[in-house]
């Protein structure tokens, strides 16, 4: 499964655009981290389930139901999908049954955590916002126009 597939799936489950995700510089490292733990096969299974069950639906409501049911709700795929979300959000791979190890994907993963980006803050110790910036209200970034990854919309060349 290609990096693009991984990033498209990640975009939909994290709520960040593919551009934002690539902009962390961590996409390849995360993909390798996931494959390293669950194997290429395990990752491919997740991504093809997503492709098969979700990507063709254009109705957002249906799409959400389907994603919740067949991916997040799947006893095997769900934990993996949730772990990928957490990985993007804080750089940590949390131990799963069978793969108990909890670890940070790389030292540079943590500073790129989307968790802090989502709330208009910075990960403690990284991406400093500047003297006095804390005195004003947080700048919480707007959500993208659509939850559907750009590369999966009809005109993929524009993605």
């Amino acid at each position: 499964m290609s990096l693009d597939d991984f990033v498209a799936f990640s975009s939909e489950v994290t709520g960040f655009t593919e551009f934002d995700l690539l902009g962390t510089g961590q996409a390849q490292s995360y993909r390798d981290t996931v494959a390293g733990v669950v194997g290429e096969q395990g990752l491919a299974e997740l991504l093809s389930a997503y492709r098969r069950e979700v990507t063709e639906l254009s109705d957002e409501q249906l799409r959400a139901e389907q994603l919740t049911r067949s991916v997040l709700g799947d006893p095997r795929l769900g934990p993996l999908a949730r772990n990928i979300i957490k990985l993007w959000y804080c750089g940590v791979w949390f131990g799963l049954p069978g793969h108990e190890d909890t670890f940070t994907a790389s030292p540079q993963a943590y500073p790129q955590g989307l968790l802090w980006y989502a709330i208009g803050a910075n990960p403690p110790g990284a991406r400093a916002p500047g003297y006095g910036s804390w005195a004003g209200p947080p700048r919480i970034p707007a959500l993208p126009a659509s939850p559907i990854p750009r590369s999966l919309t009809r005109n993929p060349s524009a993605g």
Partner: protein, 369 residues
Amino acid sequence: MTSQTQLLDRPLPAEIDTVADLEAYLNAALRLEHATIPPYLTALYSLHPGTNSDARHVIRVVAVEEMLHLTLVANVMNAIGRRVDLTADDFVPAYPAHLPSGETDFLVSVQPFSPAAVTTFLNIERPAKAPSEGRRLLPYSDDLGAGTVLAASPLNPGVRFYSIGEFYAEIDRGLRHLDHEYRQRGEELFSGDPAWQVTEEYFYSGGGEVVPVTDLASALRALTLIAEQGEGLGGGIYDGEGELSHYYRFEQIQLARYYQKGDVAARPSGPRLDVDFSAVYPVAIDTELADYPAGTPAFEAAETFSRTYADFLAYLTAAYHGQPHQLLDAVAWMFRLRDDMNRLIRNPFPGRPGVHASPVFGRGPLERS
């Protein structure tokens, strides 16, 4: 003998004779100081995170001090009661821009960190004195292409200075000359509102200190600081504050060793310095918005960045226009620009395999339409 005392002996006529001339020169100086910031920032953020710590620190300090230089020139401008404007259409140069290096000139590009970039940085900061009075100003050919010619005479089209040092020497001379003339007439050249001066309280560089300008002495001090931070004091490697000058900071990268107190030029004896030119995002060189395929997220991000950058320049302009406290937020702006640049630089350039996206620095209202 310092360059200043030497200048006093220089025969006239030189270029600056009126306040309008001086204003034109200061405007050129603002452009010149600013012109180095996009290349430094792009090289800085092209470094892979977690790598190249030494180079990162060197470039970061220089970039921040270029902001200081911009502010110092703004202080001189405000001190003579003229307006600082960073929003003019041509304020951000077209890259690659031309800078003088003695008889020849060289190109300044917005490019990734590389040996070539380091050479350019050294060229920017290299100390150079014209061999004779007659060579201070040199003609340049008009077939230089679209790139802006920096350190050119703002009064005489087709003429540029031998070096940045000589360019500033001219301003130095002009200031003395005009101050003298004003005094003789019983007038005050430095008639600007002192409340507009950016003081240390509002601007913080990490390196040198900002000089509030209220008279000839402080104006000359401000310009001297710019020159010394760039190329060192009187041929030494340190400036008057004991800070290593930019030229020698960059040379450390080339020589892979730090300077320390007591060292002389070209012979650093401090700790080793490591550079990894491969741990760099290969960002596109001298990108224009038009280079990005329309409709791609990279295009949109580059456009947004460019607009944000133009807004930043407008914000600075307002700060220099009697609102110095606004500069306190300039740091937060810079950090946000940093995050935006990083996001862009880590994305591939659409349609150019092996090349990464690169920031485009907004050039006033023109690019906004």
